[in-house]
Symmetry: C2
Subunit: 192 residues, 2 copies
């Protein structure tokens, strides 16, 4: 039976989100997987409801969708800051607790430390303990992982993998080169 | 039996994280709950291991700790961007999938839309569809929720609540005023 893969990432916020969802699904199909893109199944929010009710209904529909998937592929390309999109991070924790494998990719190959330092406008500094901290005095994780350790730990513990590969800056939310490599890895792990 | 509450948030990155953890635990204790702060139980990483192994070991210890807690209180104060800390978002999804109630607080009372617009340096604009988008052309959620809809949807669906209340900017990662209000709400929900 074909495996259903939940496709998480900030591209849901693109103006042409449905189109990129269709492209992602086609790539999955080509490698023997069923891609499930948020919004494909849940239907549009009911415009008769107050906005907050619409948002909560979407959230519950997405959780239902995730429960029906065998694994996830998540886009960790940094979103509005040096880390992954918060909604995608939530979904990773959700799938991890369900015991589903998490495969990840990013269109930004820079190490986490470099991304946080760039985000701080070079105001990062060293603590006397040798750790870096950001402009607010908050530690920058010294673990040489790609993002917050919970995200990367969840990927590894679930049996997944992470592929980070630079895309041109203007294509960082639309390039599917690293995504396709990730699909191939996921298919190889899930279909063997 | 006393309820164990996992205490999530970016204050683990403060130089005095252990001290703030102790203050949070004392507040929980005062309201009849056992606060469990990340790092309290897991022990320090083994400095003999490579950094990435240390980070992955911490992640697995934290997941184990979360499985042993009855609920969570999470700090959604924006961290390195307009949204909550990615690690905390992951932990919310994890606890939600386990069916545990999620109580949330933030020391920043501004609506999500205002925070994203400020983050964009006022480069946000309107789409022809009426939605706002950020400087990268990514939609800003129109749902009038406090953060990404997955986070807020998880809180509400789990039976938890959200308390957002301004703290002075310099105390936004240390003030425990909103935290204590959140503990009181959690205690009232969990101990009835």
């Amino acid at each position: 039976m074909k495996r259903r893969i939940y496709l998480a990432g900030p591209e849901v916020f693109l103006p042409d989100a449905r189109e990129i969802g269709a492209r992602k699904r086609a790539i999955c199909e080509r490698h023997g997987l069923i891609g499930v893109f948020p919004g494909d199944q849940e239907g549009a929010p009911d415009p008769g409801q107050p906005p907050s009710e619409q948002g909560l209904a979407v959230s519950q529909a997405v959780e239902h969708t995730m429960r029906g998937c065998d694994a996830m592929i998540v886009n960790l390309t940094p979103f509005r800051g040096p880390s992954a999109d918060a909604g995608s991070a939530y979904e990773m924790g959700f799938m991890r607790a369900l015991g589903r494998p998490i495969f990840a990719y990013s269109n930004d190959e820079r190490p986490f430390l470099d991304r946080v330092i760039a985000f701080c406008g070079d105001k990062a500094r060293l603590r006397s303990t040798g750790e870096h901290e950001d402009a607010d005095g908050m530690a920058i994780e010294p673990f040489e992982l790609y993002d917050n350790l919970m995200l990367i730990g969840g990927i590894i513990a679930s049996g997944g993998c992470l592929i980070a590969e630079a895309a041109p800056h203007t294509e960082r939310y639309t390039s599917l080169v690293a995504f396709e490599r990730c699909v191939i890895s996921a298919a190889s792990a899930l279909l063997r």
